[in-house]
């Protein structure tokens, strides 16, 4: 029933997509992320796990510079995407975010129709030459996010009128529709039932063949199922990072062990 059918952990690729060096984040005085060093590989699913409030979302938002929008947030250190520092002055955060898509922790659909929600990204990036192509992209994205069947008859209704889990999938579809190179997903399945979760996980697996996916999750099972690499955060520190199998079976740090065995939170 609660099967954990893991895909073979084919950590075949070697290329580093993102590498973070000594990343520090402060919210005002609060030091939320301390000295994070990590290399995220291309064509891999990386899971971020850790107790609530440990800085997972914060780190995720560093990668595509969404922290820029929080006035009190301050980021130090280096994050390289394809060996280019994303915090470099010459880097255009917009281009960066087009490459590095994001699904936020709280579903935030636009107060527009479902169709427009998904079509927004492709439209601004000019991914479709005509309406038919756009329709195709939207349908594909919604199918990928396991939402198509539920909304295919109500594409023109507002996205805000969906149920919580539907909104979450809508946001996933929206992010996928722009076909980013890296996809950051902050608890994408938190409001989803097991079957929808499985479908989204399938989508992630599929995306992995081309892109790099980072997923924050509180479900150890999910991390184990979908990811090849896992990073464990605790109180703002990256405690341990390694192959998912190793982390779950042979954690090196005692805190990791305590967390996955359910002792610290």
């Amino acid at each position: 029933m609660y099967d954990m059918n893991r895909p073979e952990k084919a950590v075949s690729q070697t290329e580093t997509k993102i590498s973070a060096r000594k990343v520090q984040v402060y919210y005002g005085d609060k030091h939320a992320l301390k000295d994070v060093d990590v290399d995220i590989l291309d064509k891999t699913v990386t899971a971020f796990i850790g107790p609530s409030g440990c800085g997972k979302s914060t780190f995720l938002r560093c990668i595509n510079r969404m922290n820029d929008t929080i006035p009190i947030a301050r980021v130090e250190g280096q994050i390289l995407l394809d060996n280019e520092d994303v915090y470099d002055r010459r880097v255009d955060p917009v281009q960066l975010r087009a490459k590095v898509g994001m699904v936020f922790q709280k579903p935030n659909p636009f107060p527009k129709s479902i169709y427009d929600n998904v079509a927004y990204g492709p439209r601004i990036h000019g991914l479709a030459r005509n309406r038919a192509e756009l329709d195709g992209i939207v349908e594909k994205a919604l199918r990928g996010a396991a939402l198509w069947n539920e909304v295919k008859d109500r594409l023109s209704e507002p996205g805000t009128g969906l149920s919580g889990g539907q909104q979450q999938r809508l946001c996933i579809a929206r992010a996928v529709a722009t076909s980013p190179e890296v996809l950051l997903m902050d608890e994408p399945c938190s409001a989803l039932d097991p079957i929808a979760t499985a479908q989204v996980e399938e989508l992630i697996e599929e995306l992995r063949s081309q892109f790099s996916v980072v997923i924050v999750t509180h479900s150890m099972q999910q991390a184990a199922r979908v990811s090849q690499k896992t990073a464990f955060f605790h109180l703002g520190n990256l405690v341990e990072y390694g192959d998912t199998d190793d982390i779950f079976t042979r954690p090196r740090d005692s805190r990791t062990e305590a967390y996955i065995s359910g002792r610290i939170g």
């Binding site: 255009d92 917009v94 281009q95 601004i124 990036h125 000019g126 030459r129």
Partner: protein, 401 residues
């Protein structure tokens, strides 16, 4: 009109630039549009702007130089031709820049940002203009009139023959008194109306009531003035002032304040209504889910979240109150006096600016020049008040999400 022709030609060129740039970008991109940094439309816009902006700059410079008299007025065609050359050069330059790596979107957005910035600078220019147009005559005034008497004098009795007492204090007092009463009327009524419209009223009622109340802002102030003078004034006098022994003036601060308050209602109600409406529903749900009544929700959650916007609305209403003349003239009278009694006639700075400026006295006399000094003083005072308001808003601001 050679200049307007040049302008028209430039716009045509810019449009052509857009089309050329766009198709050029499509050509550069090849089959995969994603290879381009920016979408073709942005490339088109960047070429269009590259053609338009230099030409506009040339035209503007030419116009200014002609105004300033540096260029004679028959140089129009020359300026026009120079502008056209600039446009063509810009267009060529723009087309040359197109390439896969060319960040057309950023360039266009930077230009748009520059434009936005320019627009916000107009406020500064206006302020500078106002200060400049007031400061000269104000200086003139203080050369013929003692500044101490002006700032601290408690008597305002201009005379034709000169020898006037021109103390600002009673006018300032009147201004604050009238505005305060007006706001005391408008803010509660406006806020309650806004809350009712956004939280309780049905969509239909709201759709009717809101524009209806806004009509109040569109009724010419002279109507309010006459209403104050003919209806409200005598009413207050006969049923309020005389029975209470508070005087028997037909015009009073209270009359003007009440009537002005009515005029200001839509400023508070409509603007606040929009802001209240923009507070996310999830906040209301949160409060209602805890068992608070709608009114508690509004007072404790919605209004605090909407506070910055509401303060803006109140500031706008206050500004309007300070600047109003007709209602004060007809409702509060023209007598400059300082009294606590709201049923006495008083007057405001703005009224006196208008009347001194449009009166029959000698335009070089202190009686007329004082208008400029009044204007500048009021300007400085409201500036100070605005600084305080900004500070308060900063302090009590609650940000949702």
């Amino acid at each position: 009109m050679p200049l307007s022709w040049a302008l028209f030609a430039n716009f045509l060129l810019a449009a052509a630039g857009y089309i050329v740039g766009r198709s050029r970008a499509f050509a550069t991109a090849g089959p995969d549009v994603r290879k381009l940094h920016s979408r073709p439309a942005y490339h088109g816009a960047s070429v269009g702007l590259a053609a338009l902006l230099p030409a506009l700059a040339v035209l503007a410079a030419g116009a200014i130089l002609r105004l300033a008299g540096v260029l004679s007025s028959d140089t129009g065609p020359i300026i026009g031709i120079v502008a056209l050359i600039a446009a063509i050069a810009g267009l060529g330059f723009g087309v040359m820049r197109i390439g896969r790596e060319y960040q057309a979107r950023n360039v266009v957005e930077h230009m748009v940002l520059g434009l936005l910035m320019l627009c916000s600078l107009i406020a500064i220019v206006t302020t500078a203009g106002i200060v400049l147009s007031l400061v000269f005559e104000t200086g003139h005034f203080f050369r013929v009139y003692d500044w101490k008497t002006f700032f601290f004098g408690t008597e305002w009795t201009p005379r034709f023959q000169g020898n006037s007492q021109l103390g600002i204090v009673p006018l300032l007092w009147g201004t604050m008194y009238v505005s305060a009463i007006a706001l005391l009327v408008a803010v509660p009524i406006g806020l309650f109306a806004a809350v009712y419209m956004s939280e309780y009223a049905s969509r239909r009622v709201r759709g009717f009531v809101k524009p209806a109340i806004e009509v109040l802002a569109g009724i010419p102030t002279i109507v309010y003035g006459l209403f104050a003078l003919i209806t409200v004034g005598p009413l207050l006098r006969d049923y309020f002032a005389q029975p209470l022994g508070l005087g028997n003036s037909g015009t009073s601060v209270l009359t003007a304040g009440l009537v002005m308050g009515i005029m200001l209602i839509p400023f508070v109600s409509s603007l606040s209504d929009d802001i209240i409406n923009a507070v996310p529903q999830s906040l209301r749900d949160g409060a209602l889910g805890l068992g608070s009544t709608p009114s508690e929700t509004v007072r404790q959650v919605v209004l605090p979240a909407a506070l910055p916007g509401i303060v803006g609305a109140v500031l706008l209403a206050a500004s309007r109150a300070i600047g109003e003349t007709m209602i004060v003239v007809l409702g509060a009278g023209a007598a400059a006096q300082m009294s606590l009694n709201p049923l006495e006639a008083m007057t405001t700075i703005t009224v006196k600016i208008v009347s001194q400026l449009t009166g029959d006295s000698d335009f070089n006399s202190p009686e007329t020049l004082v208008a400029f000094a009044l204007g500048l003083t009021l300007f400085v005072i409201t500036l100070a008040l605005n600084v305080v308001a900004l500070y308060i808003v900063r302090k009590y601001r609650e940000q949702y999400e």
